[in-house]
Amino acid sequence: MTCAEVLRYLSPYLDSELDPRTSFDLAEHLARCEPCAARVRGEERLEAALASALRGGVADPALWRRIEGSLPAAPRRRRLRLLPALAGALALSGAALLAWALWPGPRPGELDLAAAVAADAGAEQPEAGFVPSLRPPEGRRGFRYEGGRHCSLRGTPVEILRGSAGGSSLTLYVARSEALARFPEAAARIAAAGSGKAVRCRLPDGRSFAAASGGGRLVFGCGAAPPEVLDDLVLATLAAEGR
C-alpha cells in the first residue's frame, strides 16, 4: 500500500469500516511508515476531539422530564383479539429467548476481546498462499496447522490461524499489541498477569479462550482444547520467531 492509498482509505479505517484485507495492509504500512502513522494518530486525536465536542453541551434534564411526562401510559394499542395477541406475545418472547441463546456478543464478566472472538463467524476459507507471521511449533501439544487468512476483528487487522490440537479444533489470532487499545478489559487483565502469562476465560459456547501479549505482538485463541493446552499454544506462538 502506498502513502496516497492510506489517505484515500483513512476515513473508513478510522471508522473500522475497511474490509479486513485492506485494513491489514494499511496497518502493515503504518508499522513501516512513521509519517503516515503520525498522520493517522493525529487524525484519530482530531476525530475523537470532534466527536467529544459534538457530544458535549449541557443536557437538559427538565426537557426529558417533560418528554417522559407527555408520553401516554401505553404504546398505541392495535386492535388485537386476545388469541392473536397471546400468540404474538409468545412469539416475541420466543424470539427474545432465541436471540439471547444465540447472541454471540459480550456477557457480564466476559473479556471484551473474548466477546469479539465469540462474535467472529469463523467460517471463512483459508487464504491461498497465506503465510502467518507467527505460529506455534508444529507438533507442540499435538498442534497441526491447517491454514490461515487475514481478517479484521472489530476493525483490528489480525491473522487467523486454524488448526487442531489433540483432536480438538482451535483458532489462533495474531495481531500487533497496539490492537489492545481497542480492548481495554483484555489490556488491563494482560497487564495485570505480567509477561509470559496468558489470561483466560470461557466463551459463551463453552470454548476456552486465552490471550497474551509481548514483543509488540498480541496472540489470542479459542477452541475446545483444554485451557492449559490453549494457554501453552498461545504463549508458544508469542515466543515463536517471526517469518
Partner: protein
C-alpha cells in the same frame, strides 16, 4: 398481559442511557433550541407509539436514532432550512498558495494536539452550518450516534456508498474550517515565517 405502565417504564429504561446523545444530535442538527426540543418530543412520542414493533435484543440506540434523525430531516424540510443552507456557496477551492497554507495549517494542527480544542471551538458551529442536511445527518449519526455505516444507510434509506460519500465530504468540509481556524490561531513563531506571509 403486560401492564401498560410496565411498557412505558420499559421504554424509558431503554431510552435513558441514550438521552444525552439523542439530545446532542438534535441540538447539533437543528441549532435552534426550541426546534431541537420539539423534534426530541415528537421522536419520543413516535418511538413509544411504535414500541410494540421494537424487536427485543436488537439495537435500541440505532432504532431510536432513526426516529430522531428522520424527524429532524423532516423538520428541516418543513421549515425550509435545507433550501436556505443551499444558498450559502461552498468556499471556493482557492488558489494554490492558499490551499497549501491551509494544508500546512491543518498538518500543524494535527502535530500539536493542544491547539485542537481551540480550533474546534472556533469552527464547529460554522462548519456544521456549511454541511448539507444529508451530510450533517451522516456525520452526526457517526460521531454522536456511533453507528455503523450500514445502520446509517438503513436509517436514512440510502445506499452504503452514499453514506460513505457524504461522510467523506462532511469531514473534508469540517477539516477545511478547522484549518482556517488553526491558521488564525497559529503560534506566532510559525506565523512569522516568510512562506506563510506570502501564502496568506
Amino acid at each position: 398481559m403486560t401492564d401498560p405502565g410496565d411498557r412505558k417504564e420499559e421504554f424509558l429504561a431503554l431510552l435513558r442511557p441514550h438521552r444525552d446523545s439523542l439530545e446532542a444530535f438534535a441540538r447539533r442538527h437543528l441549532r435552534d433550541r426550541q426546534a431541537a426540543e420539539d423534534v426530541l418530543q415528537e421522536s419520543a412520542a413516535a418511538a413509544f407509539g411504535s414500541f410494540d414493533r421494537f424487536q427485543p435484543g436488537t439495537n435500541f440506540r440505532a432504532w431510536m436514532f432513526a426516529f430522531v434523525a428522520r424527524t429532524a430531516l423532516h423538520w428541516n424540510r418543513r421549515s425550509g432550512r435545507e433550501a436556505t443552507l443551499a444558498l450559502f456557496p461552498e468556499p471556493a477551492a482557492g488558489d494554490l498558495p492558499e490551499a497549501l497554507a491551509l494544508e500546512e495549517a491543518y498538518e500543524g494542527l494535527l502535530a500539536d494536539p493542544s491547539r485542537i480544542p481551540a480550533a474546534i471551538e472556533g469552527s464547529l458551529a460554522g462548519s456544521l452550518a456549511s454541511l448539507s442536511d444529508g451530510e450533517r445527518s451522516v456525520l452526526l449519526l457517526r460521531a454522536i450516534g456511533d453507528l455503523k455505516y450500514r445502520e446509517i444507510a438503513d436509517i436514512l434509506g440510502c445506499p452504503l456508498g452514499t453514506v460513505m460519500g457524504s461522510l467523506s465530504r462532511a469531514r473534508s468540509k469540517m477539516r477545511r474550517r478547522l484549518a482556517d481556524a488553526a491558521a488564525e490561531t497559529r503560534p506566532a513563531r510559525s506565523a512569522a515565517r516568510p512562506a506563510d506571509g506570502g501564502a496568506r
